[in-house]
Symmetry: C2
Subunit: 461 residues, 2 copies
């Protein structure tokens, strides 16, 4: 089964590829093609390229929102490429694309999937999601050209509308697949700029409203035997600690809140501090307090949005303030404790200063923490150990949401992180070096091969 | 000179008028007509009525922006009314309207003016500015019908674009008159919704680009012998302390700043607190700190505007934050001290949390404190003492800017405040009761008569 082996003890990828010398020969004996990976990734980014920030051809961001014409173009290309490799392609009722390469066992058991997404934010980059799918394709291409076969079927999933940027529900179609989001609700999501366009109408327009129910169910859905996802970290930790591979063992829980502080508009020059109901002051103190509470719990609390009414002026106290809170921690119980402390502090703050303010809050999103499958994580860990060694890899918890968070509820799952420059993502300048893209792809290949071997042993012992 | 005197010792206005029984007979012997005042005020508010909030005919706000068609209508009406009274009307190059009633001395000395403005905010009320002009008209009507003559000439000023809501420069034309704003700059102000329209082009369109230079200069401008302005308080102090008349002895100094805090956008889920440059957090701490500093100095500090970029989202730290600061105190030296303490605190805060942020600030407006003329203030005080007594009046410092702040630099000036409901102004529901409107108008009359007598004695002794 193992075809061409690298001749050298340490294997170094080509100029465009690994600069890091891996510690030892890749256990699969396979070697992905870094140049092909890089070229394929950037070639497909011509569909949706936007927001140029530099002179080089690849120095643009992306605006490839789900189920737009550009997304349809990259989907067609993807379908053609996997068919060239001899894969079967299935599309479910959410337009999720499942490419499947038969393994040597010719087992009907669910395939080991490498999944991510080809859609982007409106001002997104070239790596978030895209790298995971293109890397998966490179893994299949590498296997194919080497005549390498896994034991179990292996394949790729392109999940629809992961970003939730056009139809506002992130990880939308893995959520439907996992039974967490009703398909009618997902189908009825409206284009944020055109309420006449639904996700379903766009699936139909592009021919991606498949026949297969979007579900993990063995009976009638498209179950998966495992799910591995290569993704840029979207944070600064790998880069700042000089590591190349993050072995992702789970995802933080998070809760998103909208808080509205109700005050009273009044003239700044004529209203004594003692008679004010100043929502900007109260909200400011709330945000400062939430940060202190987060630090105490070693959690993350963030405010991304802070709005005063559009008629605000320098010499008028605002009527109200709306701000968001995003609380995160790998432990759901800590998320709850932080939430409790924060709203207790907010109540105290609301009663202070002038005549006090009132506030309402709503829980907008509640995403419990996920713990990935220990065998999948072990396969990623083994890949990382082989490729870069323990000094250059680290166990991590994903701070962001990913399709893998949903798949992990229904099949063994894990993720691989690679560094992105300055931790920047969801931005045109998002960047992952050719070396890191290649290392991550090699790690994806090794993890899948390792897991396939583990699965063979465990299911046949 | 004194005509009809009130027969009763204490004089009570009609149903619509004073509910407060004044302590003794008005020293002028005159009595304004509260019903006529109220009806005139609300009749003229039909030009520009907007933002209905209740069922009664008068329960709307106003949108009578300067030099709009509705403002031109009320100006025409005003011109006709003062001419009916036998006044001469002069218009200067900023469209300021000077109505002048000759006094018994037939002196060419500058008139004693009662001034305010007929323009409003886009979501303004029926009293801010309007009351001051309509009350002044009621004073002249009362004098006329009683055959009462002041010694010196007396009159009314309708100042153009006091609000600065359409052409963004508040107290614009009293500022030009006072030499604080160059006329070319004022003329070139652009309509905030249509940059092709200038203040000058609107003066021309409506026929209010007068010949008289807009200046306080005796040689070629339109000098004033004194300036009295009746105005709603625009704050809650009179109402909360149960007083009817504020004797305004000056105006606070204030400085307006715009602060931009520069951070770095980053994913809230993947960016540790220690590596953040979070401008929302820093700005929040700055606002909380500015409030503490203000309290320590017994000053006012307010933030009315707080903006994050429009692409802000719950799970992204903002790139930058823009917020305003409005620092006020009756003493300019305290304003300076507060400013110094605030920016020292801001520098400390900017260096804290994560990797810190940077910030810039600009001084947008610097309005020094004003101290009104002691003889004018004494005339207002005498009026208040006679009408409501010391328990129902109080010395005040204006928190807001007014045309009188500019006139006070070039002629003896003072103001009279009356309560407005819940301190609300610049809002459709702004309200001053018929009783308080009438009391304020009577006080304006008494103050002018008192000052005219004082002036006669002092200039002829």
């Amino acid at each position: 089964m193992h075809a061409t082996r690298s001749a050298s003890h340490t294997f170094r990828l080509s100029a465009r590829g690994f600069s890091t010398v891996t510690r030892r020969q890749a256990p699969s004996g396979l070697r992905i093609n870094p140049d092909r990976l890089w070229e394929t990734l950037h070639k497909t980014c011509e569909w949706g390229a936007a927001h140029r920030y530099g002179e080089k051809p690849t120095e643009t961001g992306m605006a490839r929102l789900t189920l737009t014409d550009d997304d349809a173009r990259v989907r067609s290309w993807f379908a053609a490429e996997v068919k060239k490799l001899g894969c079967t392609l299935s599309v479910d009722q959410m337009g999720n694309m499942f490419a499947r390469q038969q393994g040597s066992l010719k087992s009907s058991a669910p395939m080991i999937a490498m999944g991510s997404h080809l859609d982007t934010q409106p001002r997104g980059g070239r790596y978030d999601g895209i790298l995971g799918v293109i890397a998966a394709l490179e893994v299949l291409r590498t296997m194919k050209e080497s005549g390498f076969e896994t034991n179990y079927d292996v394949g790729i999933v392109n999940w629809t509308n992961e970003e939730g940027a056009r139809f506002p529900k992130s990880m939308c179609s893995s959520g439907v697949w996992a039974g967490a989001i009703p398909i009618e609700k997902a189908w009825d999501l409206r284009d944020i700029h055109n309420p006449h366009v639904t996700l379903r109408s766009e699936l139909e327009r592009h021919g991606y409203l498949g026949d297969i129910p979007c579900a993990s169910d063995e009976q009638f859905g498209y179950p998966l035997g495992a799910h591995f996802e290569l993704h840029i970290e979207q944070g600064p930790i790998l880069e700042e600690t000089g590591r190349s591979i993050g072995v992702v063992q789970g995802a933080q829980g998070y809760r998103w809140f909208t808080i509205i502080v109700h005050g009273k508009d009044a003239h700044t020059g004529t209203t004594p501090l003692s008679t004010r109901k100043d929502p900007v002051l109260a909200a400011s103190k709330m945000i400062a307090a939430s940060n202190e509470i987060a630090s105490r719990h070693n959690a993350l609390v963030s405010t991304g949005i802070f709005r005063v009414p559009s008629n605000a002026s320098t010499n008028t106290l605002a009527t109200n303030v709306t701000f968001t809170l995003d609380i995160r921690h790998p432990n759901d119980s800590v998320v709850s404790a932080v939430q409790e402390d924060i709203f207790e502090a907010f109540a105290t703050i609301a009663s202070q200063d002038g005549k006090g303010v009132s506030f309402d809050w709503t829980l907008d999103t509640d995403s419990p923490a996920a713990k990935f499958d220990q065998n999948c994580v072990a396969s990623v860990q083994a890949a990382a150990d082989h490729l870069v060694g323990p000094e250059k890899s680290m166990l991590m918890t994903s701070g962001a949401g990913h399709d893998t968070v949903y798949t992990s509820k229904h099949c063994p799952s894990a993720m691989i992180f690679v560094p992105c420059r300055e931790g920047v993502s969801h931005h045109p300048t998002e960047y992952c070096s050719p070396q890191d893209c290649a290392l991550g792809t090699q790690a994806l290949l090794e993890a899948v091969v390792h897991y396939d071997q583990f699965r063979t042993k465990s299911e046949n012992s």
